[in-house]
């Protein structure tokens, strides 16, 4: 499954980043790399974007960006 399909409170491990170029680089720079553990915190009031917690840092992504991250729910 992909990161955008996660429900609030759900945790997962990243398997792969399928985004290329700037989106992929930016995701990886922020720590979205294979093996990292991510917790979905909440959707924004209008559903998009979505907030994640990773290693104590809160990061928000648009769903279209989160879709480019393959994950395995824990």
């Amino acid at each position: 499954m992909t990161l955008d399909a996660m429900k609030p409170g759900q945790e997962c491990e990243i398997l792969d980043i399928t985004a290329e170029g700037i989106v992929g680089q930016r995701l990886m720079d922020m720590g979205f790399i294979p093996g990292a553990r991510v917790k979905m915190v909440r959707n924004a009031p209008l559903v998009d974007p979505v907030e994640f917690l990773m290693k104590g840092c809160h990061i928000s992504l648009r769903h279209s960006e989160a879709k480019k991250v393959e994950v395995k729910p824990l």
Partner: protein
């Protein structure tokens, strides 16, 4: 001084690492803000002495990484690459070491002597983290200095480390092992790169090799432009990348990022002992409310309202206190200039006063700016700004904007009353270049404070029954139009602009410091004042010329002069030859009496209450007792005795008539001058065209004069709609209604809509030029609103006339039309394209 060395030191760090605090701590007040050449990213420099050397400190943009994808990262990287600073100070958030080290590694790769500054040690300690500094320093191969930037702790040690590192001139030996899948490729690339010795002396080779494997466009450009062996190098890099992708089933940049994160994790595990993963519990709890589905929007709306209330409403109230200061300085300037003539003022009086008026009209807004900038700094520092973007992004994205667009729009006047200048300035924080330019372009469509008097005037005349509704219409139609415009722009002219992923940090909340907030607010205000004032002066001179030249013919002038002379003769005849006051008013002395008369009237008009009036009287009595007798109509006291002075009374009566005549002549002459001026001619010239929008030449002139500053539109209208000779002085509303009997509500609606779309004032345009870094965008921002305004005005006026709509019907029809258009625009899908 002269033989001291200049050390260039750069400060780099991730956003929210406290980089600017450290920068301030090191330099103190000696700072200078400019832009990096050709771009709109702020470049802060400061200097301080370090033993016998003078250090020039450069604040690099805060970045998470050093790729070539974003402007900030390119700037930081190019600076390190081309300027080769003696030392780079890497400010690191000690409480968030693992993430921050990701940048540290990349700085180390650039082979510039590095000082790692562990900032916010207090936060780390509070979270129960213990950092083995010695171990960290050994592993990184660079000095590590702990500080608490906002309390100035560690300043001395940091300076010493900078000095020691600059003396050694030794880059860190630290290197990331990218693993057996990548290292061989890096080695062979490094080897080829080193063959061109001229090139290899200039650039860090391992860094270049890594960048080439990452398929970094800028690194490729460097090689292509500066290396003699570029063909071989680029071909080899391409081969290696392909081979890697084939063998490993992924891109090299992925493995590079993974290795950096792994290395950071490894170092943190060996150097930091802590109770893990508890940080931000308070932030979590706040966010549960602030980002909540129901509470979030409410809190956001309340915050926006508060900003509006504090800055725009209260700030405007403060101007009531600062205005007298500005008015006083205007009077001071006026008193230094040649005195006014009887019916026309000398050029060297009226022109400087015109310029002064234009300048203080802008300076008048300084209190608003101060409050606004302070509030923005608070929003940034607390971390709420990121939450605003988080909550609103969805709506704004439909129109090619960004969640961060809301703040500039609020400041610009999302509802009624704002200012486009700080609005455009507030766009600076936006990272997404495409959305940023789109926002800059639409902020001036918001209703700034200067447009409001114009609306109020027109609504007061023609929409008296629907004042509230009309104001609501104007306030919201601008938002509807602005959003549609943003979408159109992003689909057309902005299509090719660099967009950025949303990926955004939501930093932990923290209390802003007074120093930080005040510092930034003063700095931005000062920057604004400095930049704007000079240009406003130049532009208002030009507008002055356009409005007052070429002036009226000699015959007309002498006609006015004759009338004036006659009036003066009548005056002297009336007061009688034997009047003892007559010599006081003869020749040159008449001017000083005229000034006295005017000042007294003005003072009495502003005075409230009996006491204030008495003190004014006392004042003027002391200034000139003889004149005082006249302005008091001959009724005054001498040593407690009331005196009735019939000579003075007679002068009062005659002078009052003369003054009235004089004012009328002045007004008539001014009106004729404006009509005859370049702008007046242009206004009449355009009438055949603008009549389709319902504008006659008078409105044309007023609208054109608004270009200098919108405040002046009402003043110009005041100048054009004069009372008829002999009539009682009426309010501008009544005068306009009188003169424009043929006007319908449709005329007025068209004019108001044109004003709503009015091009930005000159100071705003300058800000647009500054923030976009391009004259083309400035010109675009000037002309598209004119075209748009005319289209809308013609649509409403001619369309409404053809359909036989009343003003209200046309308003509702247009509103519905605009709403439908907005929804259609929002529905057009625009997939972000990233290079």
């Amino acid at each position: 001084m002269s033989d001291s060395k200049k050390l260039i030191v750069a400060v780099a760090g991730q956003p929210n690492s406290g980089k600017s605090t450290i920068f301030n701590m090191l330099t103190g007040a000696r700072q200078h803000v400019a832009n990096y050449p050709g771009v709109t990213v702020e470049k802060k420099t400061g200097s301080f002495r370090l033993k016998e050397d003078r250090v020039e400190l450069i604040d690099l943009p805060g970045t998470h990484s050093l790729t070539s994808y974003t402007q900030e990262e390119r700037i930081a990287r190019d600076f390190l690459l081309n300027e080769r600073p003696a030392v780079v100070v890497n400010v690191v958030d000690a409480s968030n070491l693992e993430r921050n080290l990701y940048l540290t590694f990349q700085l180390a790769e650039m082979e510039i002597p590095l000082v790692v500054n562990l900032n916010m040690m207090d936060v780390a300690e509070k979270r129960g983290q213990k950092i083995d500094i010695e171990n960290l320093s050994r592993q990184l191969g660079a000095p590590v200095v702990p500080t608490v930037g906002n309390r100035g702790k560690g300043k001395k040690e940091l300076k010493e480390a900078i000095l020691a590192t600059s003396k050694e001139q030794q880059a860190t030996s630290f290197q990331i092992d990218y693993g057996e899948t990548l290292e061989p490729a890096l080695n062979s690339l490094e080897k080829v790169l080193s063959e061109d010795t001229g090139f290899s002396a200039r650039y860090p080779l391992r860094w270049l090799a890594v960048k080439l494997m990452e398929n970094d466009k800028e690194a490729q450009r460097l090689v292509r432009e500066y290396s003699k062996k570029s063909g071989i190098i680029l071909r080899l890099a391409e081969e290696k990348r392909e081979a890697f992708a084939r063998d490993q089933g992924g891109s090299p940049e992925k493995i590079i990022a993974v290795r950096r994160h792994q290395e950071a994790q490894r170092i943190v595990e060996t150097c930091v002992t802590c109770r893990k993963d508890i940080p931000g519990t308070l932030t979590d709890r706040i966010d549960q409310v602030v980002c909540n589905r129901y509470m979030g929007p409410i809190i956001l709306a309340a915050t926006i309202y508060l900003i509006y209330e504090l800055a725009i409403v209260q700030g405007y109230n403060i101007t009531a206190y600062t205005w007298p200061v500005l008015a006083w300085s205007r009077d001071l300037i006026a008193s230094l200039l040649p005195s006014e003539g009887f019916i026309s003022d000398p050029f060297f009086r009226s022109m400087p006063l015109w310029v002064t008026d234009g300048t203080i009209a802008v300076l008048n807004y300084v209190p608003i700016f101060l409050i606004l900038f302070a509030l923005i700094a608070i929003l940034e520092d607390t971390g709420y700004m990121a939450r605003m973007a988080f909550i609103l992004d969805r709506i704004f994205r439909y129109f090619g904007l960004h969640g961060q667009s809301v703040l500039p729009m609020v400041i610009g006047g999302l509802y009624v009353g704002g200012c486009a200048i700080p609005g455009v300035m507030a766009c600076r924080a936006m990272k997404d270049e495409k959305a940023r330019i789109a926002t800059i372009m639409i902020v001036p469509l918001m209703n700034c404070l200067a447009k409001v008097p114009f609306y109020v005037l027109l609504i007061g005349i023609f929409f008296t029954a629907y004042k509230g509704v009309t104001m609501f219409f104007i306030a919201t139609i601008t938002i509807i139009i602005a959003l549609s415009v943003a979408k159109i722009l992003s689909l057309t002219v902005l299509r090719k602009k660099e967009s950025a992923p949303f990926v955004m940090d939501m930093p932990p909340y923290h209390l802003p410091t007074i120093r930080g907030v005040l510092g930034r607010c003063l700095e931005r205000t000062w920057l604004f004042v400095k930049k704007i004032i000079t240009i406003v002066i130049v532009v208002s001179v030009i507008v002055y010329v356009l409005i007052y030249f070429p002036g009226i013919s000699k015959e007309r002038k002498s006609c006015y002069m004759n009338q004036a002379d006659q009036a003066i003769q009548t005056f002297f005849k009336k007061i009688g030859k034997d009047n003892p006051y007559a010599p006081l008013l003869a020749g040159d002395k008449s001017t000083s009496f005229a000034t006295y008369w005017g000042d007294y009237k003005k003072a009495r008009m502003g005075a409230k209450g009996k006491e204030a009036k008495e003190s004014i009287d006392q004042n003027f009595r002391e200034k000139n007792f003889e004149f005082f007798k006249i302005v008091k109509r001959g009724k005054y006291t001498v040593e407690g005795k009331a005196i009735k002075d019939k000579y003075a009374a007679r002068i009062y009566k005659a002078y009052k008539k003369l003054d009235k005549k004089r004012n009328r002549l002045r007004r008539e002459q001014k009106e004729e001058t404006i009509i005859n001026s370049f702008m007046g001619r242009a206004g009449r010239f355009m009438e055949p065209l603008t009549k389709w929008a319902g504008f006659n030449w008078r409105i044309n002139i007023a609208l054109m004069s608004a270009f200098a500053a919108k405040e002046s539109s009402v003043a110009t209208l005041g100048g054009i709609y004069q009372s008829r000779p002999g009539e009682k002085e009426e309010t501008l509303e009544k005068r306009m209604k009188e003169k424009e009997k043929g006007w319908t509500a449709l005329h007025v609606l068209a004019i108001m809509l044109f004003m709503a779309m009015y091009p930005p004032c000159i100071p705003t345009l300058l800000m647009v030029r500054l923030e976009t870094g391009s004259t083309k965008w400035m010109l675009f921002a000037t002309f598209y609103p004119i075209v748009l305004g005319i289209i809308i005005a013609v649509l409403v006026f001619t369309g409404g006339n053809l359909l036989g709509l009343s003003g209200m019907q046309a308003m509702i029809a247009f509103y519905i039309l605009a709403l439908i258009f907005l929804v259609l625009m929002g529905l057009i899908k625009e997939e972000p394209e990233f290079t």
